[in-house]
Amino acid sequence: MAPDTILEIKEVTRLFGGLAALKDVSFTVERGKIKAMIGPNGAGKTTMFDVLTGILRPTSGDVFLKGESVVGRRPDQITERGMIRTFQTVRLFEGMTALENVMVGCHCRMESGFVSNSLRLPSARREEALLREEAMAALKDVGLHTRANEIGTNLPYGQQRLLELARALASKPDILLLDEPAAGLNQYETGELSSLLLDFRGKGLTILIVEHDMGLVMQMSDEIVVLDYGEVIASGTPEVVQNDPRVIEAYLGIEA
Amino acid sequence: MGSRSLPWKLPVLLLCTIVAVSLSATGCGKKTVNPSASVYKIGAVLSLSGPAAPLGQPEQNSLLMLEEQLNAGEGVNGHKVQFIIEDDQSNPANAAAAITKLINQEGVSAMIGSSSTGATLAMVPVAEAAKVTLVCCAAGTAITKPVKKYIFRTPPTDSMAIDKVLAYLKTNLKIKQIAILHDANAYGTGGATELAAKAPTAGIQVVANESYGSTDTDMTAQLTKIQQTPAQALVVWGTNPGPASIAKNMQQLAMKIPFIGSNGIANKTFITLAGTAANGVSFPGGRMLIPASIPTGTEWRNAVDKFTADYKAKYGKDADTFAAHGWDAGTILTTAMKTAGTDKTMIQSTVQATKGLVGIDGIYNYSATNHDGLTVSDLMMIQIQNGAWVQIK
């Protein structure tokens, strides 16, 4: 595989009681690129995310993250290895402030446990302070630092989306999986989001994004892979994909 | 997160609890009338709820009856008598808490209770530490063995009942091999263990020793096991309703070997529950169950007749042995206080010196080495014959 490949999906198949949500899907994601995965509803996009992040086990096939297989690893282990996701529906932690939510994001990069924390050993305190700073930094990145102490679930929807983004970024991932980040955002917020994502890419972050907002997809992504009925029907640059007859037929066609 | 918003307020909240308590306290400070020093206070911790409630309820009844009768007369040396009764819900921890409270808070001069062995054993350390005489209504051997200075007992011990049963098996039935089926609770296990230990001395071999849960309703599994043994008789150690179920199961399985119960079924409830299956069942019981078994004209007989009559009149049901335990415990202490007053050490020594005190369960004699009061002769074997109790001579 090419040296600058960060994520490689190899003939991944996932069956649900007989019917296949994914049929030997294969594609790769290049480091520092924004790749979009599109397709009509039920095409298997979210299933793919679940497979990638270890929530589901592929029936067959393999997934390589930075060259090593992550199939069979627990979700938290995969996150530790530098791949983190957001969810289609916002999943902030109830009763936690925005800051605390993001601090959970940093979780996997610290190791203080029950003992050191319950005794507040210096090591734990140092870690806590560090954690707080980095979390604040992450909030600043998405411009939510002024609301650090508000309960996350009380924020307006758009900001909840951003908070989720910040929480994911706080884990300092190599690759970020976004599941319809623009869903429910208005024009302005969507614009903000895309510019945010673009300059994260500028900082060398790789992004695999599932999105229905074609405008956003076409304008942001370097590459696109199109799924339909669990199969890859096309992939390549936005231009290529846009003009692919099968895509138009299967997807854009329907849209129009 | 509540915890974040909480800081200042916990004191507020704890205060509320306390204030509530203390307010009500002062509130009722007005209500409760003269805590006159001249009242003789005796504490009682009984199992008024929970599994042992069938024991505790009648014990409480007769204590209340005794209090009424004493205070109707001249009380004890002109002092009114008050039994302060607590429920331990058949739970040892509650029993310990209750006796502590009665001694430290109510300032009782002596204690009665509890109904079950476990709860009583939990009270023992407290009574010993506070040097308060405790007369218990539980039959477990462990309570007075070894003898503890301040702990006395009214009911016949399990070992007395067991001796009675063994004697019956040996001399009346001439049986060599028995099976034991006991309740898994303290009463049943204690009895079964001791029975198994003593049987060989009577030349009897225990060929099966099974148990059942207090709330089980079908013991056919254990019984079929026993059916396959050469057991010539079945000894069941437990309290209602278990033994009744066993009797019915035996009828169902057409098991013909004799059913010998414990003093735990020395009550009419067993007959009601087991119905026809109760016939032929025999068990050790206090003589008060069949007043006729006590020679007429004797002080004891008169006491029993009066007690059973009064009890029936007051509560509308027959007095069982537990009612007798309660009554006797109360009598022993109040009698002792006639001479000892409220002096705790005096009460202990007086109770220990009790000789020939006529109770309902029997004639009580205590000594420094014997805190059990009764003897095997206060028990008899009873057989159920078409729904009625008959003494086995």
């Binding site: 929530i55 938290d76 601090m103 979780h107 | 800081p7 462990a142």
Partner: protein, 361 residues
């Protein structure tokens, strides 16, 4: 930004301050208890407080498990019992064995048992986890009864020596009271630290959404087991103290009823509220005595009613239901809100006075 950071740590600090206030308040119990006429309260407060403290150990841990970890347990009486039996057996069989060491051993063994059963059982969720833990509790109870050689069967273990630390004997309720509650305060301190730490956040996260917590790199299965073990250790600690306090134990003290009492204390006090455990313990240990004293405060109540067993449990049951209907988030939460209200009023008043002063100038 600075401001926000300080505000965060301030919350912490205020919690500690509250803990100190509570501690002072509790340790003064023997003092203010004197001012309540004994024939009125009908309880030996110090004695009951020892029992309450012993239960508190278990309940604080259970609150971490249920309230923060979101994992239910209906079997914690088992760990309480393991702690009690461990120290009781050690101290009665080996007379040289120091009771304080027995208590540590009890807590440790409870922890080990917690780990052994927690690892498999915590894969279950919701009502199924409730059932499994309940079953474990029942199994433990039966073992306490049946392993006669070790536990003394249904008769139990008598003559357990009082707690003594390096010759210092804590043989009276009064002395024991301070030991137990000092320990309770330590446990409270530990759990406060924990809740406001990385671990606490991880637990709350997995309580709120296991999938999301997983995705954020929280090893949920490990955290579940760890907090379960922690709660088992706390319960074992309480149980061990219980044994030395009662000086006698038998299986009847560790039934399902106790497990249910523990969980009820957590819920009535306030799940996931750091003070919930304590509040629940205080309320539910004092409630029966208060209910019991009620009749003499109500004039003209039929004497039949004043018989404890006849109405106490009726009222107790109704109160449980009432608490859940009117304070589903727990009394601690409810009173916190009430307290918050009064505090707000107070601040308002202060400002008004300030304002006046300024005017007067």
């Amino acid at each position: 930004m600075e401001g926000q950071l300080t505000r965060q740590s301030e919350t912490n600090w205020r919690t500690y301050r509250t803990l100190i206030i509570v501690a002072v308040f509790v340790f003064l119990v023997p003092v203010w208890a004197r001012f309540i006429p004994g024939d009125v309260l009908h309880m030996d407060i110090v004695n009951i407080m020892v029992l309450a403290g012993v239960y508190a150990c278990a309940v604080i841990g259970l609150n971490l498990l249920v309230g923060y970890g979101g994992q239910i347990s209906l079997g914690h009486a088992a760990f309480f019992g393991v702690g009690a039996y461990t120290t009781a057996i050690l101290c009665t069989r080996l007379h040289w064995f120091p009771s304080w060491l027995g208590i540590i051993a009890g807590a440790a063994l409870a922890g080990v048992v917690g780990w052994l059963v927690g690892k498999p059982v915590l894969r279950l969720k919701g009502n199924y986890l409730a059932m499994a833990t309940l079953g474990l509790g029942e199994i433990a109870f039966i073992l306490f009864q049946q392993v006669k050689g070790l536990t003394g069967g249904t008769v139990g273990i008598l003559d357990i020596p009082p707690l003594s630390v390096f010759g210092l004997k804590f043989d009276t309720d009064f002395k024991l009271f301070f030991v137990v509650w000092a320990l309770v305060m330590v446990l409270m301190l530990l759990s406060i630290n924990l809740v406001y730490s990385r671990v606490g956040r991880a637990l709350r996260a997995l309580h709120s959404s296991e999938v999301a917590a997983d995705a954020m790199g929280v090893n949920t299965s490990r955290y579940k087991v760890q907090v379960f073990v922690l709660s088992a250790v706390f319960a074992g600690l309480g149980g061990a103290l219980f044994a030395h306090f009662q000086k006698y134990i038998n299986p009847e003290s560790f039934t399902l009823a106790l497990s249910i009492l523990f969980i009820t204390m957590v819920v009535v006090g306030g799940m996931g509220n750091i003070w919930g455990g304590l509040v629940g313990v205080v309320i539910l240990t004092f409630l029966p005595s208060v209910i019991q004293a009620l009749p003499q405060w109500i004039p003209g109540l039929p004497s039949g009613l004043s018989n404890f067993s006849n109405y106490e449990l009726v009222l107790y049951g109704l109160l449980l239901i009432g608490f859940m209907i009117f304070l589903p988030k727990g009394v601690a939460y409810g009173l916190a809100r009430a307290g918050g209200f009064t505090e707000m009023r107070a601040r308002h008043l202060r400002d008004r006075i300030k304002a006046r002063k300024i005017e007067s100038h």
